[in-house]
């Protein structure tokens, strides 16, 4: 390794030789197949899409090779490899070399695909996208390095750049549609792209140079401002009245506020503008209403997966020693988690109700909604309708809460297998349910209705039996007063579902039984019972 450039190149090679070899292998295999197969037009017709996919895949690999960024634990970001800064090499070589290699790499791979794979098939591919890809590589690297401190901004700008360059790549296709001269337009865009690459190169040089000199202050400055705001916010300065209240504060500060914050942000930045711009349209009003009501449920199931872990922000599932050594019973910790979940659910629904009570009367187009409501009023009467509304809200809140606490028993167990397994099982059940619904819709016959109902009844019945059995099994390890409390909770929740089901159901002979059976299911029982045992297994390994 006589020169630094050779050493740096070797390093890129040795870190990524697997990807590089796979790109070469994929490309040459495709080229080989093309040469060996006799009837090429058939391939072109039938398997072209596979070739395109492989080409995109190998280009993606090339981008990953020249991504050239590492996690920097000191600054807590993923950016230009920090360790290279100590080498006696000027910054422009440090950044320029991977950029140059990246452009050459992406160009070579593109050229190989067009000339060795597609050309023998008789399909000519323009070389313009190759040029765009080269510039794209420069911009990609530049953005990855210079926005290292701004994770979200970086993702957004990479997406934006990707879309922009896709359009650049497709320019030859639009040329026929444009009124201007073909050559002039291409020349113009060539200059534009060269400008882009200059900006990318100098931008990367500048920002990496700054990072090398301990700069990259943007993030630090932002953080300082955020810190200043955080400092200005009044904080709790009173002592906690009990260990439970301290733990409640801990859990709330850790993960409890997240669900309300996400819902508030979504309402503010998605639903508010959408509802405003679509205020004339009655369909949009209905869709928005549906999404607003569904949003907390979806977010709660997603956030609940993290909330179930001992620490939301950590990938480690074991209970941190900091918590494990507190003289605090494992069962109490679960209770606190449930209370925090309940608190965030209450806040979330208060937010949703506030939004609805502002939006529906003030700027929503509620014509259809009003008609529907009037019909319902005629059919069921005012009191019933009001009860349905209240009960639905309660049911929604209960299901949101369930989403938050439902995974506690796997999340707190400290076992990654169980945690991931649980998530996979959920996903499979979800997919199966959708498949089942689609299947049922396609094969539904009214004359088989009774058979369906009896099947459904049997399924629900066995589910209820399994649930109760599991609950008995899991609850016998827990102290009677707590069992009493949870049973009351469950009874109240289930009662709410039953009442709602009965109010909603039409007066047909079999539906009531089904609804009662179904209403017994959504409020968790066994999984709450398993949670303390699961946590104590994690705590005392």
């Amino acid at each position: 390794m006589r020169s630094p450039v050779a050493a740096l190149t070797w390093e890129i090679w040795s870190r990524n030789y697997r990807s590089i070899v796979s790109v070469v292998v994929i490309t040459s295999l495709c080229a080989l197949v093309n040469h060996l197969v006799p009837n090429k037009s058939e391939i072109l017709e039938n398997y072209q899409s596979i070739y395109w996919l492989l080409m995109i895949g190998s280009l993606g690999l090339v981008f990953s090779v020249f991504h050239h960024a590492e996690f920097n634990p000191r600054k807590n970001w993923h950016g230009f490899p920090y360790r290279l800064f100590t080498l006696p090499v000027p910054t422009w070589i440090l950044t320029g070399l991977p950029m140059l290699l990246g452009v050459i790499g992406v160009g070579l791979v593109y050229f190989a695909w067009t000339q060795l794979v597609f050309a023998p098939l008789g399909r000519t591919v323009s070389s313009w996208p190759g040029f765009v890809l080269g510039v794209g590589m420069l911009c990609y690297q530049s953005v990855v390095w210079s926005l290292a401190g701004f994770r979200i901004v970086r993702i957004v700008s990479l997406c934006f750049l990707g879309l922009l360059f896709m359009n650049f790549g497709m320019i030859p296709l639009f040329l026929e549609l444009l009124p201007w001269d073909r050559e002039t337009v291409l020349e113009l865009f060539t200059f534009l792209l060269i400008g882009f690459s200059m900006v990318a190169f100098f931008g990367a040089w500048f920002s990496v140079e700054r990072q090398r000199r301990g700069g990259g202050r943007g993030r630090g400055w932002l953080k300082a401002q955020a810190g200043r705001i955080m400092n200005a916010v009044p904080r709790r300065t009173a002592a906690f009245s009990s260990a439970s209240s301290a733990q409640f504060w801990f859990e709330w500060r850790r993960a409890g506020w997240l669900l309300p914050a996400c819902v508030a942000l979504a309402l503010l930045f998605i639903f508010l503008p959408v509802s405003w711009f679509g205020r004339k349209d009655t369909d949009i009003a209905l869709i928005t209403l549906g999404w607003v009501l569904g949003l907390p449920l979806i977010l709660a199931t997603v956030i609940g997966k993290g909330f179930a872990k001992p620490d939301f922000w950590s990938a480690d599932l074991s209970l941190p020693a900091f918590l494990a050594i507190r003289p605090f019973a494992s069962g109490e910790m679960i209770v606190i988690k449930m209370k925090v979940a309940a608190m965030s659910v209450v806040i979330v629904w208060a937010l949703v109700i506030t939004f609805l009570s502002l939006w529906l009367p003030l700027w929503a187009n509620t014509r259809e909604l009003k008609e529907w409501l009037e019909n319902a009023h005629v059919v069921r009467g005012g009191f019933k309708l009001f009860s349905i509304a209240v009960l639905s809200l309660m049911a929604l809140a209960i299901v949101t809460w369930r989403g938050m606490v439902g995974s506690l028993w796997v999340g707190l167990s400290g076992s990654m297998t169980r945690f991931v397994g649980g998530a996979i099982v959920h996903a499979i059940v979800f997919v199966l349910a959708i498949c089942g619904i689609v299947y049922a819709e396609n094969h539904f016959h009214w004359h088989d209705l009774e058979r369906y109902v009896s099947w459904l009844a049997w399924i629900l019945m066995s589910a209820v039996v399994a649930k109760v059995w599991l609950a008995v099994f899991s609850w016998n390890k827990i102290s009677p007063p707590r069992v009493g409390k949870y049973v009351m909770l469950w009874t109240a929740g289930t009662g709410c579902f039953v009442a709602l089901g009965l109010l909603l159901s039409l007066n047909v002979f079999w539906i009531k039984q089904l609804i009662i059976l179904a209403a017994l299911l959504p409020v968790p029982l066994a999984r709450l019972g398993f949670a303390p045992a699961s946590l104590s297994r994690n705590r005392h390994r």
Partner: protein, 313 residues
């Protein structure tokens, strides 16, 4: 002021026949240990000897697979609340929630310990120079250790458990930690159990020492007794020896030529006879430091290394 004699006092921690395996690796092997009330119990051992595993068993963070662990006569797994409430714990990496501010951290910890001494905590905070509104993650390693120490100490625990508290810290923080140990034990009836690589620290502050090696206890008892049992003698031979002399009961023999150093455990009365049978005489005799005993013990047990001869200088 009265300092209870450790040998007569009851045990704060008693461990009997404790074994623990992680996969196929035996980390603790048939370990039995008693920590007398009011003692400073030093646990020494190489990295990976099982010190942290032992301490985690005392905290109840690990379940005893075999054998029993009793702290204050209670199983820490069965009743973590009453055991942990009387323990203060500080580890090498005080796993503190970095997002908390120092004052929040103090108040949060306070809530769990009814005996928390607010004034004492505040005086410690000032003594350690911890800024109340600073976030824990912005503190230096030494300051984090001090914050951890504050939280472990301010409820005046009956048992202070320190797991390699001073490794990687500067002498000033190390001194703070040792002072905490002394203050704890000087309050009547309190006990300190701490593990360390720094044998000088252990020698200074502890009165009981246990030495772990590959999950087994090789030495355990009052420090004075251990030191009184071990002797370091220098032997002088009339002629240069090419091989180290073989001495029964010697833990380590090192040297070259005419002078050899021997460290032995007990057997002081028989030693002169053995030595003169070899044709040598004792020219020097010392009480070895804990460090020397530790190294000699570790080397004896390893056995498979040719540690008995030191390389020629």
């Amino acid at each position: 002021m009265k300092f209870p004699s450790p040998s007569s006092a009851e045990a704060v921690v008693s461990i009997a026949g404790l074994s623990r395996r992680f996969g196929s690796r035996t980390v603790l092997n048939e370990l039995s240990l008693h920590v007398p009330r009011g003692s400073v119990f030093g646990l020494v051992g190489e990295n990976g000897a099982g010190k942290t595993t032992l301490i985690k068993h005392i905290l109840g963070l690990l379940r005893a697979e075999q054998g029993t662990v009793k702290v204050f006569g209670i199983d820490p797994v069965a009743d973590p609340v009453s055991v942990l409430g009387r323990i203060g714990y500080l580890s090498e990496q005080p796993d503190l929630p970095g997002w908390m501010r120092v004052d929040e951290f103090i108040r949060y910890t306070q809530a769990f310990y009814p005996k928390w001494d607010v004034a004492y905590a505040e005086s410690l905070r000032k003594q350690f120079g911890l800024d109340a509104s600073a976030r824990l993650k912005t503190l230096s390693k030494g300051q984090q250790a001090k914050a951890g120490l504050l939280a472990a100490q301010a409820h005046r625990p009956e048992l202070l458990l320190l797991d390699e508290p001073s490794s990687g810290l500067d002498p000033i923080v190390r001194r703070d930690i040792l002072e905490a140990v002394i203050r704890t034990v000087a309050d009547e009836g309190r006990t300190v159990f701490f593990s360390s690589h720094l044998l000088e620290e252990i020698e200074r502050v502890s009165d009981h020492v246990a030495m772990l090696h590959r999950g087994k206890l090789v030495l355990c008892g009052p420090l004075d007794e251990i030191k009184a049992r071990h002797h370091r003698v220098t032997l002088h031979f009339e002629t240069a020896q090419t091989k180290p002399p073989v001495i029964a009961g010697a833990l380590s023999v090192s040297g070259q030529g005419k002078e050899w150093r021997v460290l032995c455990n007990g057997g002081r009365t028989e030693l002169p006879a053995i030595v003169s049978a070899l044709g040598a005489r004792i020219v020097e005799e010392h009480t070895p430091s804990l460090n020397e005993i530790f190294v000699a013990q570790a080397e004896t047990i390893v056995g498979d290394r040719p540690t008995t001869t030191s390389p020629p200088h």
